[in-house]
């Protein structure tokens, strides 16, 4: 544990860098996935095509995507932008399906009731469907966040620094603590972001916090 104490500064700096690299794909991924998921939810024929295509992107192993993406984007293999783009693609692939499923999960009765009350389409989406799809979308977002944070480390193989630096550096210098601290810090970071998202979800979706329905009262 000596190594950790002596290199706390490095670990912290890498953790901050790691977080910076992960947040962008998480946020961008959600922003792009929302309209795509809506399309897949709204127009049945697009659902199969869109989600299958995204599913195929998702099967591409990360290292392969990191090195093959520049052929399409023209960005340098060794740049941060390349890694961020690749991770955004994964995020969209997961999140678009989760948005579509989330919107599908909204009770049709509630949707009908909102229409009957006089919500126009756009307004109904933001006031009713979007918040009610919230819990399922949040579950998807948490999966994206955690897996993105884990995946960022692979970037070190194409020269993009994150906590993954501790893996390769520790391996070359045969310092077990270094590799171990990289693994532990990555997981801590992931669990921390996951926790923050979960708490945020509770704060903005208070109705999900109510437990079982109140016991039936005598009065109807």
């Amino acid at each position: 544990m000596n190594w950790v104490a002596e290199n706390a500064g490095l670990i912290l700096a890498l953790a901050v860098q790691h977080l910076r690299l992960s947040l962008l794909p998480i946020v961008l991924g959600f922003a792009i996935a929302l309209p795509l998921g809506y399309l897949a939810h709204r127009y049945r024929p697009t659902r199969g095509v869109l989600l299958t295509a995204l599913g195929l992107l998702y099967t591409i192993p990360s290292l392969a995507l990191f090195v093959a993406l520049p052929v399409v984007t023209g960005i340098s293999v060794l740049s941060e932008a390349n890694v961020v783009t690749a991770l955004t693609i994964y995020a969209v692939a997961i999140q678009a399906r989760s948005v579509a499923d989330a919107l599908d999960s909204v009770d049709p009765d509630v949707r009908q009731a909102a229409t009957a009350l006089g919500y126009s389409g756009w307004r109904r989406f933001w006031a009713v469907e979007f918040p009610l799809a919230g819990p399922v979308m949040l579950a998807g977002l948490r999966v994206v966040a955690v897996s993105t944070i884990a995946l960022v480390t692979v970037g070190i193989l194409v020269g993009v620094k994150s906590l993954g630096y501790l893996f390769t550096n520790g391996f070359q210098r045969r310092i077990l603590e270094e590799v171990l601290s990289g693994v532990v810090m990555t997981m801590l970071l992931a669990l921390l972001v996951d926790l923050v998202l979960a708490l945020l979800g509770r704060a903005v979706m208070p109705w999900t916090r109510i437990g079982t329905p109140a016991p039936r009262r005598a009065a109807p």
Partner: protein
């Protein structure tokens, strides 16, 4: 697109067929995938069935699957190689692949059983089936599509992680990718990447077909589509990390 052609040229150049060539790299990659998948399934399927059938340990299984998603696969490989010793790289990498594949398969196994209508299972007990018969005649067949879906995620996880094993000198298709980066030989890197992608897509396709075939006849919808729960399970319920 000329890099693309160069990559293809590199892939199909005659010297790529001998020792250290493409067939050998694919063979290594597949071999590791197969061993790790078999071991992971041997552990995760019975465990998942136990959790699914008894309903006990569900929280633990969910927590394990969640934590596994946060596990950086590359770091895990290096950590195990260092722990076990450089002489046992094969064993260390296999162990890492197994650890990473277990959560998806476990989740598929218990989710498959959990997703079955409780009334169906009650009815099976009510007609006098033993617990073993309930498991083997009702829960396993009905849960098969979701299990396969979990296995599909597990296999993709293994294929992706095995690519990273090139870093510790274990061969496989990652070897070409990383060597290409080190030698600044981009066609080689891209060629290796294309092969990994092709391998992943083929395995994904195989499992897609298996999933479809595994849906019991009575449950199959018109047009042979999968039941909703099955298609929805690919993500995000199952583990996601490359």
């Amino acid at each position: 697109m000329s890099v693309f052609l160069e990559a293809l040229a590199w892939l199909f150049s005659p010297e790529r067929l001998g020792a250290g060539g493409i067939p050998q790299r694919i063979g290594e990659h597949l071999w590791f995938t197969l061993i790790a998948f078999a071991l992971a399934s041997a552990i995760a399927v019975p465990l998942g069935y136990l959790v699914g059938h008894t309903g006990r340990g569900r929280e633990v299984a969910v927590a394990v699957a969640g934590a596994a998603r946060a596990l950086p696969s590359f770091g895990l490989i290096l950590l195990l190689v260092m722990l076990v010793g450089v002489l046992q790289i094969g064993a260390a990498v296999t162990a890492a692949l197994v650890i990473l594949a277990i959560p998806s398969i476990l989740a598929g196994a218990y989710a498959g059983i959990e997703a079955i209508d409780r009334r169906t299972i009650d009815a099976a007990r009510a007609v006098g089936m033993t617990e073993w018969q309930v498991l083997t005649r009702v829960e396993i067949p009905l849960g098969l599509p979701l299990l396969l879906s979990g296995m599909r995620n597990g296999v993709l996880q293994i294929v992706a992680t095995a690519t990273l094993a090139g870093y510790v000198g274990l061969g496989g298709l990652g070897d070409d990718i990383l060597q290409g980066i080190a030698l600044r030989n981009y066609p080689q890197t891209l060629g290796g990447a294309l092969l990994v992608v092709a391998l992943a897509l083929v395995l994904d396709g195989v499992f897609a077909v298996l999933e479809r075939v595994a849906v019991p006849h009575g449950v199959r919808k018109r047009g042979g589509a999968l039941p909703r729960s099955s298609s929805a399970s690919r993500t995000p319920a199952a583990s996601a990390a490359n």
